[in-house]
């Protein structure tokens, strides 16, 4: 299922006119999170390419669509096989240890248990997410520096 830009705008207008502080809307294949007074509104994939990562201001909530998460690269579109690595917390996702260094892993990188895959930062706490199984990175689900939600898919590892 997909949502059009107009449909997203209509949903946010309805929410804006309500007294809700936070709304979580889950449809088939879509999760929309809106927090009043927060800088974050998150749309989870899939979305049409035309609204893949826009900034949509809907005053007065100041809500913005900030992270329409689509697979950034993949060796296979099948993410149901393999070991899924998911976000243990909400935060900013970093594929690199610092901006001037290469990514921890790429598609095809072989990892061992405990190898670092990425960082998630929230309120200046940097958590290293490590491989829980030895194998090969099969799927990268999130763009560098994007916001991730709790339990959001980050990587898929094809076990050895």
């Amino acid at each position: 299922m997909t949502l059009t830009f107009k449909e997203v705008s209509e949903i946010m207008k309805i929410i804006d006119a309500s007294d809700c502080e936070e709304v979580l809307l889950e449809l088939e294949g879509i999760k929309l999170v809106v927090r009043r007074g927060s800088s974050e509104t998150t749309l989870a994939a899939p979305l049409p390419a035309s609204i893949a990562s826009p900034q949509i201001a809907v005053p007065p909530t100041t809500a913005q669509v900030q992270s329409a998460q689509q697979p950034v690269s993949t060796a296979s579109n099948d993410v149901t096989t393999g070991t899924q690595i998911r976000a243990p917390m909400v935060g900013s996702f970093y594929r690199r240890p610092s901006p001037d260094q290469p990514s921890f892993v790429e598609i095809g990188t072989h990892v061992n248990v405990g190898d670092p895959l990425c960082l998630i930062e929230v309120m200046k706490l940097y958590t290293t997410i490590t491989a829980t199984i030895a194998g090969t990175i099969k799927h990268l689900a999130v763009e560098d520096t994007q916001l991730v939600e709790f339990d959001q898919l980050l990587f898929v590892i094809e076990p050895d």
Partner: protein, 254 residues
Amino acid sequence: MSSVPARIVEFETIDSTNTEAHRRAVAGERGPLWIRSDRQEQGRGRSGRAWSSPPGNLSATHLFTPTCERTVLHQLSFVAGLAAYDAIAPHLGSGAPLQLKWPNDVLIGPAKVGGILVESANYDGAIVVIIGMGINIAVTPDIEGRAVTQIDLYGAAPTPNELIQVLARNMRSWLEIWNDGHGFAAIRTAWLERAHAPGQRLTVNTNQRYLEGTFAGLAENGALLLATGEKAPIKIEHGDVSLASTLPLSEKRA
């Protein structure tokens, strides 16, 4: 939360006390442990930024293993800020404008006197927390684009060894109050008492956008509340926060 006093190990020179903590965690160290070095050759701050660590300043890292949920680990940014603030405060003369800036920078006036890097990682199923602290005691490092200062410009300077003893006691006390997240309300209150005043003009640079506004306190989860003129403050959970100039925002934009 364990109330066992932490061990302290000291080096003359090391690459990075945080890196050493990670090495020890890989080898099975679970703390509580402090690692201090007179000099760091590859000290690092947030986002991989280099952190200058000349002799005379404090470069130290605390390693421990909390038993809390991972979803409250970010609260340790505030705990560490309180411990550092309380370690520095007794050495400053009266009137020195020591203050905390979200979430854990320690400033004297607008200038940074202490920086903190909080990290966590899963080592063999244990969530290990590694908190690096750099406090400028006798030397002001040159940090491009940042106002920086040192303790001994404002009062009697402790030695790094004296300062870490106090810091370790403070951290232990604040961790007991934090109580694996159950006492965060008290941490939040104490942090606000030591922070710059409400209404302080701030700029926030997230990965997505640049914001200007005024400090409106902390949300219950510790998020920065930034008043921007909208009907509700914006909750900031990530990004670089700076004290803005005293110019009104309209003049600054012009």
